[in-house]
């Protein structure tokens, strides 16, 4: 083992290789080894998220300041440093709203959670609507209103502006169902389809690139981890995982035969 690789890194590598191969067994078919890897991943992620939320948000931003505010408010000065003010008492409101959300688990009291949801919907709508309209509608209209010619406009910019303008109109007409798609309207709508096909093609090409880069990244690492530095983790675990898949297949086929 090279000095730069610690024992902890070796353990981490073996775990990473094991779980990667367990998940890749799905290429063969949905099987218990894949399911085991999937469930462990989901469980770990959920557990990590809950713990992280507790230690970085719920405790420092809610429970601890509220507890301090309450203790000072009732003159129980048991803390080393007294609280500057009682302003954190307002945290009772989000605490109550949060608790009300938990009533969704009860069929009798789940109506109480609607107050929290109403608060969320109201506040988020108020915050979002002006910004969303500005960013996604007004500012998005700008490229369609660019000048076709001018002292600083190049021929390529003119072509781009034409393409954008024609594309926006054609796609909008395709989705305009109040008029029957006949004659000139039909031709423009078909041009809209052409525009959308180009967009879908570009999206598909990018999607292929995204999926491949994930596989390439993992395969590159698996090849690296097959080296003696990592005690042939990939090779050994590959055989073990294949063996386990074969065993589970044998057991399941035997079970089916017995039934």
């Amino acid at each position: 083992m090279p000095e730069s690789i610690t024992t902890m890194q070796i353990i981490e590598t073996w775990l990473a290789v094991g779980f990667t191969l367990m998940i890749y067994t799905f290429l063969y078919k949905d099987n218990p080894i894949f399911k085991l890897g999937e469930y462990i991943y989901v469980g770990l992620t959920a557990g990590y998220a809950v713990c992280y939320a507790w230690f970085t948000v719920i405790w420092p931003d809610l429970i601890y300041p509220l507890y301090r505010a309450l203790t000072v408010s009732f003159h129980i000065k048991q803390w080393e440093k007294p609280l500057e003010s009682h302003e954190n008492l307002w945290l009772i409101i989000p605490l109550v709203l949060g608790i009300l959300m938990l009533t969704r688990f009860s069929s009798k009291f789940n109506w109480l959670s609607r107050y929290t949801l109403a608060f969320i919907m109201g506040s988020v709508s108020g915050m979002s609507i002006p910004l969303v309209v500005s960013a996604n509608i007004f500012k998005q209209m700008v490229p369609t209103l660019n000048p076709f010619w001018g002292p600083e406009v190049t021929i390529f910019q003119t072509i781009n502006t034409c393409l954008i303008l024609v594309g926006v109109i054609a796609v909008l007409i395709y989705f305009f169902f109040s008029v029957e798609h006949k004659g000139a309207v039909n031709k423009v709508a078909r041009l809209g389809i052409f525009y959308m096909m180009v967009s879908f093609g570009a999206a598909f090409g990018y999607t292929v690139m995204a999926r491949e880069s994930l596989v390439i990244g993992r395969v590159t690492k698996l090849i690296k981890w097959a080296s003696p530095d990592y005690y042939y983790a990939t090779i050994i675990l590959l055989f073990i995982i294949i063996g386990l898949v074969v065993l589970t297949e044998l057991f399941s086929s035997r079970g089916e035969r017995t039934e």
Binding site: A53, V57, M127, L131, K139, Q140
Partner: protein
């Protein structure tokens, strides 16, 4: 019509071909040479960072988790190394998931070690806060209220890296590298409130969604997937993971183009035969 067993075999042949198209170029990667290119949208981000004077504060929002690490880490590393070299002050944050925090810590530490930068002095990592848009809106009012403590539980008011910074409007640039809708959130809330120039990096799947924001000037540049990361590595003169991964990527892309052409020929031939 294609029978089921035949289709099953073809599927396995495609799997095997793709596997070979990845493994062989990885093994013989030194023999494969690719030309250095960079698109305008990627270069815009590079130019924007180049134009910032040393000491300018910027935000880097790392909004992806381990499932997209392979695709987005290379571009994050390239950006970070560039901003560290330019001596910019970096505020690392995330609005995506709790898992992003650990990942961000690892990426920042690695890049900082490479460029000899110090936590608290040259950069700061903020812990994950849920709320997404609310977090950004809070940042537009008071950074220290939003993040009273950093990732290592140090008081943010005492950090030299945050000296002279109060709100999002003090930022000279912001960049969101995302595997989800965080770029949308940054465009709608961050850009609208902070008015600072905004760049975006995203998984290739999402790249086409953000081109309209380039045309409207809401984004200064866009990096989509590993290809953009390789271009950025080329721009900073530091060829790394992304450049290496573009080699198998190019081979697999060629294979897929061939498969699409063959698939279409087979389809149209069969249709003609009825």
């Amino acid at each position: 019509m294609t029978s089921e067993p035949k289709f099953h075999i073809i599927r396995w042949v495609i799997f095997a071909l793709v596997a070979l198209a990845i493994i062989i170029p990885v093994i013989v990667s030194e023999k494969i040479k690719l030309p250095d290119t960079s698109s305008r949208v990627v270069k815009n981000i590079y130019d924007k960072i180049e134009s910032l004077p040393a000491g300018s504060p910027i935000i880097l929002s790392i909004d992806f988790d381990p499932s997209s690490d392979e695709e987005l880490r290379p571009m994050t590393m390239a950006i970070l190394r560039h901003v560290f070299r330019k001596k910019l002050r970096v505020i690392g944050m995330t609005i995506w998931s709790p898992q992003s925090s650990g990942l961000m810590g690892d990426i920042f530490t690695t890049a900082a070690k490479m460029e000899n930068k110090q936590d608290g002095l040259d950069y700061v990592i903020m812990p994950f806060k849920p709320g997404g848009s609310s977090v950004i809106l809070n940042l537009s009012q008071d950074i220290f209220f939003t993040y009273p403590k950093d990732y290592k539980d140090k008081s943010t008011k005492e950090l030299p890296v945050l000296k002279g910074i109060r709100t999002l409007k003090d930022m000279k640039y912001a960049m969101c590298i995302s595997a989800g809708n965080a770029v949308d959130v940054w465009i709608v809330y961050g850009k609208e409130k902070g008015k600072m120039p905004l760049g975006a990096g995203c998984t290739a799947v999402m790249a086409t969604d953000y081109y309209p924001y380039l045309q409207s000037g809401q984004l200064v540049g866009l990096m989509g997937g590993i290809g953009a990361a390789a271009q950025y590595e080329s721009l900073i003169g530091e060829k790394g993971i992304a450049t290496e991964r573009m080699k198998p990527q190019t081979v697999v892309h060629s294979l897929i183009i061939i498969l699409i052409v063959v698939g279409n020929i087979v389809y149209f031939t069969r249709r003609r035969k009825g």
